[in-house]
């Protein structure tokens, strides 16, 4: 426990003294996982809506794939993205391995099934009569989708939080495709692994705490947005 206490003190010290390297790693983690979450929303939300509202051949298979994808092991994603990005791999000519772009690609692969799966669940839980009513009063398809998105905004925000939480905390894929290169591709999770390997447990604990605080802050913000429109349940009298 002494060690944890030392780690907490060290984390505070690193944060308050504004240690340039730690701040850089923290901001970089936020950038990579933020970009990956953003991109996975662009892919995942339309995909989730499509799966929830349309029936097509292979629909069941697609839904199963997305549900499986929600639990994709990051290290497996890392392995396959690495092989694709190797110099000898199909995308080798782009020279992307060990760059932030490679990390974003891997994280999008991890996050978009989570976003798609939760979006699908959110839309499926809407009352089907709602679409009928909206169509009945003459809503166009874009208007319909927009209104349904508004209706499902609470679970959609939960999807964003789950996607972000999944990628900011993963280490396997970032380590493999990013290489944990100092000043280039080092994020909070890979730095924690490195410091543990070096035997610098205080710094490792400090980095872990910073990661927790960061995740907490982002989720606090999103929860705040989500809960300000919370339905007020009638009080039992």
């Amino acid at each position: 426990m002494e060690l944890v206490w030392q780690g907490i003190k060290h984390a505070c010290w690193l944060l308050f003294t504004g240690d340039a390297e730690v701040l850089g790693i923290t901001l970089f983690s936020l950038q990579v996982s933020g970009a990956a979450t953003g991109l996975s929303l662009v892919v995942g939300i339309p995909l989730g809506i499509l799966l929830a509202m349309k029936r097509f051949p292979g629909h069941g298979l697609a839904v199963s794939l997305i549900n499986t994808g929600m639990g994709l092991p990051p290290v497996v994603v890392g392995l396959f993205v690495t092989i694709f990005l190797w110099r000898s791999g199909p995308l080798g000519y782009m020279e992307l391995l060990y760059t932030p772009t490679a990390m974003i690609i891997a994280q999008v692969v991890i996050a978009f099934p989570i976003v798609a799966g939760l979006t699908m669940a959110a839309f499926q839980s809407l009352n089907p009569n709602l679409s009928l009513q909206l169509l009945g009063i003459g809503a166009s398809t874009p208007q319909l989708l927009w209104l349904l998105c508004k209706e499902a905004r609470l679970p959609l925000l939960a999807a964003i939080m789950a996607g972000f939480g999944g990628v900011i905390s993963e280490v396997g894929a970032s380590m493999m495709v990013g290489g944990n290169i100092r000043g280039q591709t080092r994020v909070l999770t890979t730095a924690t692994v490195l410091e543990t390997g070096k035997g610098n447990f205080e710094i490792a604990i400090a980095l872990g705490l910073i990661l927790l605080v960061l995740t907490f802050a982002v989720n606090l913000l999103l929860t705040h947005i989500q809960q300000r429109e919370q339905i007020r349940w009638p009080k039992p009298s």
Binding site: A35, G38, W86, R87, G92, Y93, I104, T196, G197, G199
Partner: protein, 289 residues
């Protein structure tokens, strides 16, 4: 419904954040990037944090250091996924050089491996002046007494050294006493310490973990326990887009006199002793004499 934070504004904000974030630095100009495949021990010791920035400043190249086990580091280089390798498994290295996958093997530095174990020493491997023991003897005694031994089991340089000791002792280690951690040296030391077993570690990692490890050094200074690091260039025929010139520049840098002087002084301040001893230009037989 409150209108302050409506869903469209939120989506617009997200799109904006995304646009800003996607302007991350992409790969630098080709030919300037060097991929160095190396071992966890060079990275964990902190040596590369000193040498790589210096090299980048001097040469104008940008180095991407990938630290993995020696086995993987050599395999990456032989597939052309790296431009230069800095590793520590002489017998394995010589195979890759003989196959023509790696070129121009040059010694850089060495330190040594040590055999750690519980202070009670159930296998009686402790080497003293009155009863000196070789590392091969020690392995035989550990196996004969079925004392717990924690192996890296990850084809790293340290694991290769351990395997060669078992081979020389004529033993195929298996059984409940033989634990394969499959992890890095730090984690393996933790397991050995926790389970009160014997293990082999490089000295640099031991020094970093000394405060948390209660195991004693039972055997050191034996010739087979030398831990020799070499640098090798990658055969351009191994694959596309290998930065041959960059790899050679880095290899030359590692054996240059100024770099060797830096290696000699590295770690003295923190540990009271150097972590690596430079040996560029020596032949393997001369090391440790």
């Amino acid at each position: 419904m409150q209108k302050k934070f409506s869903f469209p504004t939120l989506l617009a904000a997200l799109a904006f954040v995304l646009a800003v974030l996607s302007h991350l630095p992409a790969g630098e100009a080709a030919g300037k990037n060097i991929i160095l495949s190396t071992t966890t021990s060079t990275q964990d010791s902190g040596l590369l944090d000193v040498l790589v920035p210096l090299f980048e400043k001097k040469s104008g190249h940008s180095v991407k250091t990938v630290s993995v086990g020696t086995g993987q580091a050599l395999e990456l280089a032989s597939k052309g996924e790296a431009d230069v390798a800095l590793v520590h498994a002489p017998s394995l290295e010589k195979k890759y050089v003989a196959d023509g996958k790696l070129l121009n093997r040059r010694l850089v530095m060495y330190n040594d491996f040590i055999l750690l174990g519980p202070a009670s020493d159930p296998a009686q491997v402790k080497s003293t002046k009155s009863s000196p023991k070789s590392s091969i003897d020690a392995m035989k005694r550990i196996a004969a007494s079925a004392s717990r031994f924690v192996s890296r089991g990850d084809n790293s340089g340290t694991h290769n050294l351990e395997k060669s000791l078992w081979k020389q002792a004529g033993i195929e280690p298996k059984g409940a006493w033989y634990i394969e951690s499959g992890q890095g040296m730090g984690a393996t030391l933790g397991i050995a310490n926790d389970r009160n077993g014997y293990t082999i570690t490089d000295r640099a990692t031991y020094l970093a973990f000394r405060k948390r490890v209660t195991l004693a050094i039972l055997l050191e200074g034996d010739k087979p326990l030398l831990n020799i690091y070499s640098v090798m260039e990658v055969n351009p025929a191994n694959g596309p887009r290998i930065n041959v010139a960059g790899g050679k520049t880095f290899a030359d840098f590692m054996v240059a006199p100024e770099t060797q002087a830096l290696i000699k002084s590295f770690g003295v301040e923190k540990f009271g002793q150097p972590l690596f001893i430079p040996v560029a230009g020596m032949r393997e037989e001369q090391v440790g004499e």
